[in-house]
């Protein structure tokens, strides 16, 4: 045991491959799909096959994170496993384009939910499918315990009714993991997730949203009208267990939040790297030994931004490392998401400011990254939801005390 915060050598190849993918495949088409919102990025199909191959080694480059799961290992030896490699892969690919990464076939956030809560039989059955995640409703955002979509058992099928919005990759995915309640009167314990085939006639695509950023990624709104789902497609157990159920569903987030943090770190790193190049052309170089105050304001600003990015990146690594080593990481997952979400926005916006019109116009990708970054402080739990979670854990408060 030695304290070491360097990226392990064994992930160096993965990290470099991911960076190359970002540089050579994603960056060249980044602006095109930002302008052509809702157009399918066909270039990703080939890339996805390549990534499938890499996934067999337990890592992933996509958002979906089939690789992230709670390790059941009871080994006492230090592990750097698939949670960490996934975070590194996601960070590097998002350095290329986060919107495209969110559109990567078979790497949807729904895949992470399946990986986290599905039983063995289900894992096998859904293997190789692309799964989106449908939680949010028009009247239920961060307050996911109050969702109104219902699932009523009828014979061998559940019948789903309700409305779902903000479904990332909802149009393109093959499966959609839908959150619905078995009994609205029983609160959060009755909330279950169901795997719905995208081709199910009861799931009707309402519209695709027009967004501030991540425009390469489709964001769908659905209506569920008597949508019949075989009962084997309920993830986990159908019992309404007051203690465990909702916690089980929420557990997905402990694994995916470090990945969203990784996305934010990747975008912020892209902004910072490009800004540094442009500032170098403008005659500004950071001297890491001299105090910030004896350097030009722009260099001092870079130092400041870089320090926050370093903190966010290491917190993401810590949360992933804890998951790899079966250490409870709810607190650290939320902290990493909170920190990365807000510094992702701060850094990318500040970079636009530092680069002036080059930052603001569409000749560079800086303005795009600043638009993309904002979603990362919102989805998978907003900044404020993370603060709530962190505060409740630190202060030992229930959700009734601290609302």
């Amino acid at each position: 045991m030695t304290i070491n915060l360097e990226t392990p050598k064994k992930f160096k190849v993965l990290s470099e491959q991911a960076h190359t993918v970002a540089q050579e495949v994603l960056r060249p088409i980044s602006r095109h799909y930002d302008r052509a919102e809702h157009a399918y990025p066909k270039e990703l199909d080939m890339l996805a096959s390549l990534i499938d191959g890499m996934n067999e080694s337990g890592s992933t480059l996509g958002a979906g994170a089939s690789g992230v799961k709670s390790s059941a290992s009871t080994e006492t030896q230090n592990r750097n496993g698939s949670n960490m490699s996934s975070a590194i892969g996601v960070m590097e690919t998002c350095w290329g384009d986060v919107g495209l990464v969110l559109s990567m076939p078979r790497q949807g956030l729904g895949n992470a939910a399946i990986a986290a809560v599905a039983n063995e039989e289900q894992l096998l059955r859904y293997e190789g499918s692309w799964a989106a995640m449908a939680i949010t409703e028009p009247e239920s955002g961060s307050d996911s315990a109050s969702i109104r979509t219902t699932a009523i058992l009828d014979g061998d099928e559940y019948v789903l009714n309700g409305e779902k919005i903000y479904v990332t990759a909802g149009e393109r995915a093959e499966l959609v993991v839908v959150w619905a309640t078995l009994d609205p009167k029983q609160g959060r314990a009755a909330i279950k997730s169901f795997v719905v085939e995208r081709s199910n006639p009861g799931m009707i695509l309402d519209r695709l949203e027009h967004k501030l950023g991540i425009r390469a990624s489709d964001t769908a709104a659905f209506r569920l009208e008597n949508c019949r789902v075989p009962k084997e497609d309920l993830l986990g157990t159908p019992e309404i267990d007051m203690k465990r159920s909702f916690a089980g569903v929420m557990k997905t987030f402990d694994n995916t939040r470090p990945l969203v943090a990784a996305m934010a770190v990747g975008v912020a790193q892209a902004s910072l790297d490009r800004t540094r190049e442009l500032l170098t052309e403008a005659g500004i170089e950071v001297d890491y030994d001299r105090p910030a105050h004896s350097q030009p304001a722009a260099a001092a600003a870079l130092l400041e931004l870089e320090s926050d990015l370093e903190a966010a990146r290491l917190m993401m690594m810590e949360a992933a490392w804890m998951a790899d080593n079966s250490k409870p990481n709810s607190l650290h997952a939320s902290m990493s998401k909170a920190k990365a979400g807000r510094v992702g926005v701060d850094i990318s916006l500040r970079c636009v400011e530092l680069c002036g019109s080059l930052g603001y116009d569409e000749s560079e990708l800086l303005e795009k990254w600043a638009r993309d970054a904002k979603i990362l402080d919102i989805f998978e739990g907003t900044q404020q939801i993370q603060q709530l979670i962190i505060a409740r854990l630190l202060l030992k408060k229930t959700s009734a005390d601290l609302r």
């Binding site: 045991m1 030695t2 304290i3 070491n4 915060l5 360097e6 990226t7 392990p8 050598k9 064994k10 230090n78 592990r79 750097n80 960490m84 890491y288 030994d289 001299r290 105090p291 910030a292 105050h293 004896s294 130092l303 400041e304 870089e306 320090s307 926050d308 370093e310 903190a311 966010a312 290491l314 917190m315 690594m317 810590e318 490392w321 607190l331 650290h332 902290m335 909170a338 920190k339 404020q384 993370q386 603060q387 709530l388 962190i390 505060a391 409740r392 630190l394 202060l395 030992k396 408060k397 005390d401 601290l402 609302r403």
Partner: protein, 437 residues
């Protein structure tokens, strides 16, 4: 004895020295040397070295002793070694049970209790950077170990921690960069029963101070050097028995070993906003004549840069410890303080501030630890050290300020420690040198 056994014996010796519970429980056994009384206001320079000892010069040629770095590991890991864990725990206990209760008085009188400093020495903190052949007790040099210990002491009290660690900065500097004569002359004193007060003086009193552009100068003379200039915020300046001073030699910064009884070495108390328990002082060098052997590290610019970088990591570690103290303190306070019929922590405006303290603290700690772990692995660490410093100056100060804010009016009065932490944390982002990991 096989090499492995020898290593084991050495490390057990260190642990024994550091974790021995009888040491922790012992108070005030040592007769202190006559101690200069700190003046809480400035009243002019006077000769330094009032309580000084004489170091008998040992001339020795040959290679200086150096502690090897800890072996490099590949996997990302945040678990300290068993030995580090035990040191952190025992020093942490000393910090919370001994230093914290003494902190308020030490702050008012601008002096750390001598018995506390003696106990800190007994814990072996000045021995960590000292090679084995000069009496050191660890088999490897580890900046991470120093950082963990510094953080633990900072959680007790930043001012007393600075006073306690100040001699360790000097022993570490001589252990890392001293030649064999300098090591043989000075290091044994730092591992003996009576560790000298000592200080590493880098800071100078001017706005926009840059440690790489010094006003203090060293001029070559036939038989040595002549130093002139003023150093500021020198920990335990009045009673220090040895200084390591930064001065520009041929327009490049260099380090010099200065014995305070040298003619032209003067001190004046310099009480500051915070870290007052460290009895900070101005150190004036008025054409102080030093022998040729006073030059430390052969004026190598990389050595000087490392000195500044290691200092920044140490200050970041202290800041992390103090920020942890803030978090530890505000949690029960906001949970118990009732307003509008319920604990104020039931309000998001209060609870989110606590959440942000926890989040930013975690980031500061990891950035600081990465810098320290890079030192141990022989990697460049200047960038990482400066990033840790930036975070402490910005986020650390924010935590200090929010600590006071969460207590409201109660935070502003001296019945609670948060106002002291507010003052101390401002210093952590400013100070150069004084400490090393």
């Amino acid at each position: 004895m096989a090499l492995a056994d020898k290593g084991m014996a050495l490390s057990l010796r260190a642990l024994n020295r550091i974790a021995g519970s009888d040491l922790l429980d012992r108070i005030g056994l040592r007769d202190q040397t006559e101690k200069a009384v700190y003046e809480a206001t400035r009243n002019g320079f006077r000769a330094a070295g009032a309580a000084g000892r004489t170091f008998s010069r040992v001339s020795r040629s040959g290679k200086p002793a150096r502690l090897p770095n800890a072996p490099r590991k590949d996997l990302f890991d945040l678990t300290p070694s068993d030995e580090q864990g035990m040191m952190r725990e025992s020093i942490g206990e000393f910090a919370l049970k001994r230093m914290r209760p003494a902190a308020s008085d030490a702050d008012s009188v601008c002096a750390a209790p001598p018995e506390l400093l003696g106990q800190a020495n007994d814990l072996g903190i000045t021995m960590l950077g000292v090679p084995e052949e000069h009496g050191g007790a660890v088999e490897e040099r580890s900046a991470v170990t120093s950082a963990l210990i510094t953080e633990a002491l900072g959680r007790g009290d930043m001012g007393i921690a600075l006073a306690a660690l100040s001699p360790a900065a000097v022993s570490t500097a001589i252990g890392l960069w001293g030649d064999s004569g300098q090591q043989a002359t000075y290091l044994p004193e730092f591992t003996g029963e009576s560790v000298p007060a000592a200080a590493l003086a880098i800071q100078e009193p001017r706005a926009l101070f840059d440690p790489f552009v010094l006003s203090t100068t060293a001029v070559r003379k036939d038989d040595g050097f002549e130093l002139s200039g003023i150093k500021s915020l020198v920990a335990r300046g009045a009673d220090s028995e040895l200084f390591v001073v930064a001065a520009a030699l041929d327009d490049r910064p260099a380090l010099f070993i200065v014995e305070p009884n040298t003619k032209g070495v003067l001190v004046e108390s310099e009480p500051a906003m915070g870290v007052r328990a460290a009895a900070t002082a101005n150190l004036k060098l008025d054409r102080a004549k030093l022998p040729a052997e006073a030059l430390l590290g052969e004026a190598d610019p990389e050595i000087y840069a490392d000195c500044i970088r290691l200092g920044r990591i140490a200050w970041s570690a202290l800041a992390v410890g103090t920020c942890q103290a803030v978090l530890d303190y505000v949690i029960p306070y906001v949970n118990e303080r009732i307003a509008f019929g319920e604990p104020i922590s039931n309000r998001q405006a209060v609870a989110f501030m606590v959440a942000d303290i926890g989040t930013e603290l975690e980031g500061m700690r990891l950035v600081m630890l990465r810098a320290a772990s890079r030192v141990d692995q022989g990697l460049d660490f200047g960038r990482e050290a400066n990033l840790a410093r930036r975070l402490c100056a910005s986020r650390g100060m924010q935590i200090g300020s929010n600590g006071v804010q969460l207590l409201g009016g109660h935070g502003y009065i001296k019945e609670h420690p948060v106002e002291r932490w507010y003052r101390d944390l401002r210093g952590a982002g400013i100070m150069e040198g004084a400490l090393l990991v």
